[in-house]
């Protein structure tokens, strides 16, 4: 295909889109809306996974003792744990320290904490498991910590981290699946637009055929229309996801309880995925219709 022919196809395609600007706008809107769902799902999944990674420490457990347990006994348990395989460190956090740590993390809660007569934060051990220890072994270790003398509870992020990461994965997969499903919808939208465009230029195309215009010259502009509509829709969907990201960032900054979120926009790989899906959908929709029309000739 010569460069001149390619240039003609592109310019004719763009002119046709401009001529039918009402239809072009409607098609772009539909494609944007459909791909926006996928874009926002991918944005949410990515940020949820990032927030979990950022805020969780799967290798850290907190071991809580009963109120009656003397500090000396907690120290003995700490010593015993330090001697075990797979444990990196054991730190004893006394009740006052626990309260101070909380107030550093959440200063706006200090007034509420000051109203309490007793310190509600129990003493506990912070047990850090070595990075090399596998998840299964970590769960076994956590179970045995509960058997130690005076221990009433063992808490860690492990289970929630796993659940949240699974949820993030699920949202991401849903985003990808809807992306593919909506690509089919975009194909049908572009096919419809191409059909209307073909109908409005029927006379022109009939003349093109009888004067011997190459097939690429006739069908090329329609494919260009499909590609532009698809790519345009995906880029607008990306812009919409950027808008959602900006709004979420402002909300997170304004609300202290959402401070644990470190939001990021849709990564380039996801943007490329959406654009690729929509370009393929757009060109397939156009080609499908052009092929049907060509068969009629």
């Amino acid at each position: 295909m010569s460069l001149r022919l390619l240039r003609m196809m592109v310019s004719d395609g763009l002119v046709a889109l401009l001529r039918g600007r009402g239809l072009t706008a409607a098609a772009l809107l539909i494609i944007t809306l459909t791909f926006s769902v996928s874009a926002v799902a991918l944005l949410a999944a990515g940020n949820l996974a990032a927030a979990v990674e950022l805020n969780s420490r799967p290798g850290v457990f907190r071991v809580y003792f009963s109120e009656e347990t003397p500090d000396s006994e907690a120290a003995v348990v700490a010593r015993r744990l330090r001697a075990r395989d797979g444990i990196d460190s054991v730190t004893v956090v006394w009740a006052d320290q626990a309260r101070d740590e909380f107030l550093v993390a959440f200063p706006e809660m200090s007034a509420g904490v000051a109203l309490l007569a007793d310190n509600p934060f129990p003493p506990h051990l912070e047990v850090t498991v070595a990075d090399a220890v596998a998840a299964v072994r970590r769960r076994e270790l956590r179970a045995t910590l509960g058997d130690e003398e005076g221990v009433v509870a063992v808490r860690g992020d492990d289970l929630w981290t796993r659940r949240l990461l699974e949820l993030a994965g699920l949202i991401r997969r849903a985003g990808l699946a809807t992306g593919l499903a909506f690509a089919l919808a975009a194909t049908l939208v572009v096919a419809g637009v191409t059909r209307l465009s073909l109908a409005s230029r029927r006379d022109e195309i009939a003349v093109m055929w009888v004067v011997g215009a190459p097939r690429a010259f006739i069908s090329g502009p329609f494919v260009v229309e499909g590609v532009v509509l698809g790519a345009g829709g995906a880029l607008l969907a990306w812009a919409a996801s950027w808008g959602v990201f900006r709004i979420a960032s402002v909300l997170a900054d304004a609300h202290p309880l959402l401070g644990f979120l470190a939001l990021a926009p849709l990564p380039l790989s996801s943007v490329l995925f959406l654009v690729a899906c929509s370009v393929v959908a757009g060109s397939c929709g156009a080609l499908l219709t052009v092929y049907q029309a060509a068969r009629a000739h």
Binding site: V207, V211, G212, A294
Partner: protein, 230 residues
């Protein structure tokens, strides 16, 4: 240039448009295709530019059997032809200049060459002053001249015209025939479908007469230069 051998065209409903038509039109020849309405003139022309295929027999154009050509080859063959349709088939939304350059563009000519060629043919048909007019702003004769300009713009080897003077007065018909004569003078093979006896009398050329789908007279090949009645 054109060879029809035992060509029959039957439609699905059983109607026969052409029946066992055979003739030969030399390269550089000029012929009228005549006959009453419904005789099969348009069908015969359509077979030459492969809009229709024969049910029986073969049609050879420029050394190629058109019925056996693939789509790409048909388009290549059509690029060597200029076609003037009975209804002009101008694109209503494009002005005169664009109607002519459109064909050249479809044939892949560079913008400058397109412009030069279009200006040249519009000058030849006397419409260079109406370049920016839309088809609806032109008279019937002017529209037909635009259609001719479009057909000859790419300098075709073969020019087909289907009732090009059908809706025109005598003076305009002669004017258009003069354009065809000039084009033929450059070596283009010309085949004109018409049922205007005035033109047949005025321009003594080979006449292929169709009646009820049958070629009743294949005429005589007349060399250029001995054609016109004074």
């Amino acid at each position: 240039m054109i060879i029809f051998q035992g060509v029959t065209k039957m439609y699905e409903q059983g109607a026969v448009a052409l029946r066992d038509v055979s003739f030969h039109l030399e390269k550089g020849g000029f012929a009228f295709l005549t006959g009453p309405s419904g005789a099969g003139k348009t069908t015969l022309l359509k077979m030459i530019y492969r809009e229709e295929r024969p049910s029986e027999g073969s049609v050879e154009v420029a050394g190629k059997e058109s019925g056996r050509l693939a789509v790409g080859q048909v388009q290549r063959l059509r690029r060597r032809m200029g076609i003037v349709f009975q209804d002009g088939r101008l694109i209503a939304s494009r002005d005169v200049f664009e109607n002519v350059t459109f064909v050249l563009r479809a044939q892949g000519l560079a913008p400058r060459a397109r412009k030069e060629r279009a200006l040249n043919v519009l000058r030849q048909v006397g419409l260079s002053h109406r370049m920016r007019s839309l088809p609806r702003q032109l008279s019937g004769g002017e529209q037909q001249r635009v259609a001719i300009a479009r057909a000859v713009a790419a300098d075709p080897d073969l020019l087909l015209a289907d009732e090009p003077t059908g809706n025109l007065d005598r003076e305009m018909s002669v004017e258009i025939m003069e354009i065809f004569r000039r084009i033929h003078g450059r070596g283009t093979t010309v085949l004109i479908a018409t049922h205007d006896p005035f033109l047949l009398r005025k321009y003594r050329r080979r006449v292929l007469n169709l009646e009820g789908g049958c070629l009743t007279d294949k005429g005589v090949e007349i060399t250029s230069g001995s054609d016109e009645t004074p």
